[in-house]
Amino acid sequence: MKNKIILFLLFLISFANASESIDATFKKANDLYNKGDYEQALQSFESIANKGNESADLYFNIANCYYKLGKVAPSIYNYEKALLLNPDDEAIQTNLSFAQKTAIDDIKILPEVGFKKMVKEFTSTFYYDTWAWIAVFIAFLSLLSFLGYYFGNTVFLKRTFFSLFLLFLIGIGVTVFSAFLQKKFDTNYNPAIVFSESTTLKAEPKNSSEDVVTLHEGTKVFVLEELGNWKQVELTDKTKAWIDKEAIREVKE
């Protein structure tokens, strides 16, 4: 029994040590970055990521290293990864635009329009898990307001609580719906970055097919489907074509 407790304590200590050393590595890597030793900094940052840790800031720093080393595709790739975790960070957006300027292709970005855009804008207010927690919270509020209605002893109280109860029920519906919709949008949102220096997109998934467009390193595409060695992608200007699977890397991988 004693032994077990000691073992457990040791485990706790080692665990604490491990997390401490990650923070230390992070700090050390930042120091290396500030000294201009981008290669070493990059290695340290990546060692943290390789241990199964992630954060928007980590990917951001990795991307900065790649940018400083002049590697377009990996830097854009990591900025996109950081943006997935923290979509509203201005620093990430700014540096991503810097990296995009060093990319070769300049493809128009066609904005989405109409009702779908409004729905997307609404559901993307929160991450889908946040939506889920909000739904749970509202469910409890609705219980409370029901109790208020049920045990309220004046007409006014009963009326107020009953309307609140109805309101919260609608709230549950909306939030749960938003959560699942957002999750669906999220799974359908598969950005990928072109890693190969230059690759030709085809109209059909075979080499002999007609060329659609030639893309270069660092261009962002959205993966729709996969077939054999090909992936169907959509460009930001809504062009759809097939790309060699090896030429791109999906940001969500």
């Binding site: 997390s19 990650i22 992070f26 700090k27 930042n30 970055y33 500030n34 943290i48 990521a49 199964g52 840790n53 992630e54 954060s55 928007a56 800031d57 980590l58 951001f60 720093n61 900065n64 940018y67 002049g70 377009v72 620093a91 990430i92 700014t94 540096n95 635009s97 810097f98 995009q100 300027k101 060093t102 990319a103 070769i104 292709d105 300049d106 889908y128 898990d129 939506w131 889920a132 927690w133 739904a135 749970v136 469910a139 409890f140 609705s142 219980l143 029901f146 109790l147 049920y150 045990f151 549950i172 749960v176 959560a179 699942f180 999750k183 220096e197 230059s198 270069h216």
Partner: protein, 595 residues
């Protein structure tokens, strides 16, 4: 007599059938392979829908259609009749492509709804005839040509007969003539078109006769023209004959009065034969991806005019290839630049000389690049590949990577900024520094949405609603049960007062009061009576009705009496203890009996 009539009929019918005649004609039946054959289809009338036969083994040009009419005058029985004869001729010029005997099939033509066919003709094509002088138009001259100037040759000399695609081939056209003749007045140069070749002439400024050898004999030779050819595609390619007309002064073989050879000037048309060049394709093996068709020996350079500049300024990027080879026949590789560098279409310059050995010089594309934003941009290395004829292999030259450092421009390059009098303060975009602190999460997280916890937490409050409703209903039902409630209440009071009595043990008055209350409440609960109805007789009667045993009833009544009296009589602790025990016993006894 009959025979005459028959003969007449025959004659008439013949003349009728001879009215429309359609035939094919050539001058001879046998031609040299280097000769042109004139083939003519003649119909002695107007014809429609002329259909030529297939000319296998020949290249054809034509038809040239010639329509004409003759007028004939007849004297018949002292009368003069004019008859117009219309005829149509279709001329074809055939160039043989191989030796052998060929049959030219029937051509068809339609006249007045009847279709006429020509007779097929046979033509034999023999070895080339070294007297390409059938060009002359009158037979007399042709006759002369046969006799005179036999030793004059026009030859096209090829530097190689088996070049690669895009390897230069030099053709030198030379005129050989015997020493005893002279040639002059070169005219009617008819150069071939050199299809499938890129060609460049080098005209001789001065034609000079030199000594030369042809077929082992001494000849005078004049170089007429040099042509550089670059084959554009692989395969057996023909070079059409080169033709000129000259005046040749040739000896007639007779001597004049003074013993000098008599010379005669003849007009001669000369032609080289058709020559075939076997163009070899470039090896597919090891062909670089960046190969665009350059063959020769080259140097490749990419030079920017400057590498540090401000946004909005321009720089020139020169992509140049210099050396020897098919300089005009390939495209220069295009540089690939980041989207922030605006690159305009290049200015192409060629500085190429073409001596006999092939093109030499430099071609370049000059791109103007204007960086739009501050930053460091790299122009990727550019590859240029060519086929090296000397080593018979592909060579690739890769330029160096060029880094362009763009500083913030003086005039910030912002398009579509509305000009206002106010000074616009623009947010300066700066490359952001690393984040110094972060909180890590595990890369493999579970989703909350859709998990069991999510569903239970979401549904729990909603399920609680009916539960609450049911609970409340039950409570109301209980509240509605008045008698039951009273019983429960009295039972509760029994316990309450008993425990109070136990507490007051030793203190006589409160103890017995509590005991009394406990007993009363017990009766209230069991017998459903109120305090008012509580007379001793009534109690006994009710207890009996409820099947309580006589003994228990007596003991209960006794205890009640005792409690009543004890309040006013002195009592000991022992008595109190005793009474309390008795109360517990009797209450549990009656409890069992009163059901």
């Amino acid at each position: 007599m009959k025979k005459i009539v028959l003969g007449l009929i025959f004659f008439l019918s013949f003349s009728v059938s001879a009215q429309v005649k359609f035939e094919a004609k050539t001058e001879r039946n046998s031609y040299g392979i280097n000769e042109n054959i004139q083939l003519v289809f003649i119909i002695n009338n107007e014809g429609d829908n002329f259909e030529p036969p297939k000319f296998e083994g020949f290249k054809i040009s034509g038809p040239t259609i010639f329509k004409g009419q003759d007028e004939e005058t007849f004297y018949v029985n002292g009368k003069i009749t004019h008859k117009r004869k219309v005829y149509t001729k279709y001329y074809y010029y055939l160039t043989p492509t191989k030796k052998g005997t060929f049959t030219i099939g029937s051509a068809t033509i339609e006249y007045n709804g009847t279709i006429y066919k020509s007779q097929p003709i046979k033509i034999t094509i023999t070895d080339p005839i070294q007297l390409p002088n059938y060009q002359g138009q009158n037979p007399r001259q042709r006759q002369q040509n046969y006799d005179f100037g036999e030793g004059i040759h026009l030859v096209g000399e090829l530097s190689t007969k088996n070049p690669h695609v895009n390897e230069p081939v030099t053709v030198i056209y030379k005129l050989y003539f015997p020493y005893n003749s002279s040639v002059s007045n070169f005219r009617n140069f008819q150069a071939p078109k050199y299809e499938d070749f890129w060609s460049q002439y080098i005209d001789m400024k001065q034609l000079r006769a030199e000594k030369g050898k042809y077929n082992g004999k001494d000849y005078g030779v004049v170089v007429l023209r040099k042509v550089i050819l670059y084959p554009l595609e692989a395969g057996a390619k023909k070079i059409e004959p080169f033709k000129i007309d000259v005046d040749a002064e040739v000896p007639t073989g007779r001597s004049d009065w003074f013993g000098r050879l008599e010379m005669k000037t003849v007009e001669k048309s000369l032609s080289t034969g058709i020559q075939t060049i076997n163009v070899k394709p470039l090896p597919e093996n090891g062909k670089p991806v960046s190969y665009t068709g350059a063959v020769g020996k080259y140097d490749f350079k990419v030079t920017p005019s400057k590498t540090t500049l401000k946004a909005g300024e321009s720089l020139d990027l020169e992509v140049s290839v210099s050396g020897k080879g098919n300089l005009k026949l390939f495209t220069l590789p295009k540089p690939v630049v980041p989207s922030a560098l605006e690159m305009y279409d290049p200015a192409h310059t060629e500085n190429v000389q073409t001596p006999v050995t092939g093109m030499v010089g430099k071609i370049s594309d000059k791109y103007t690049i204007i960086p739009q934003f501050k930053g460091k941009y790299t122009i990727k290395p550019i590859e240029f590949s060519y086929y090296d004829l000397a080593s018979k292999s592909y060579k690739t030259i890769t330029s160096k990577e060029i880094t362009i450092d763009v500083a913030e421009g003086d005039a910030t390059f912002v398009a579509n900024t509305p000009s206002t009098n106010k000074q616009v303060i623009q947010k300066k975009e700066v490359f952001q520094l690393n984040k110094l602190k972060t909180e890590f999460v595990s890369a493999s997280r579970e989703d909350f949405l859709g998990s069991g916890l999510f569903y239970s937490l979401l549904l729990a409050p909603l399920l609680l609603i009916p539960i609450v409703m049911i609970a409340k209903k039950q409570k109301e039902a209980k509240d509605a049960d008045v008698v039951g409630n009273r019983v429960r209440n009295n039972n509760r009071l029994v316990k309450k007062y008993l425990s109070e009595a136990k507490k007051q043990m030793g203190d006589k008055v409160p103890f017995y009061m509590a005991m009394e209350k406990a007993l009363h409440n017990f009766l209230k609960a069991k017998l459903h009576i109120e305090t008012v109805e509580m007379s001793k007789d009534n109690i006994i009667e009710l207890l009996q009705q409820r099947n309580a045993s006589e003994e228990s009833i007596n003991r209960f009544m006794e205890l009640m009496n005792d409690c009543e009296f004890a309040r006013y009589a002195p009592a000991t602790d022992t008595a109190m203890n005793n009474d309390f025990d008795r109360a517990i016993t009797i209450i549990s006894e009656l409890e069992k009996q009163l059901k």
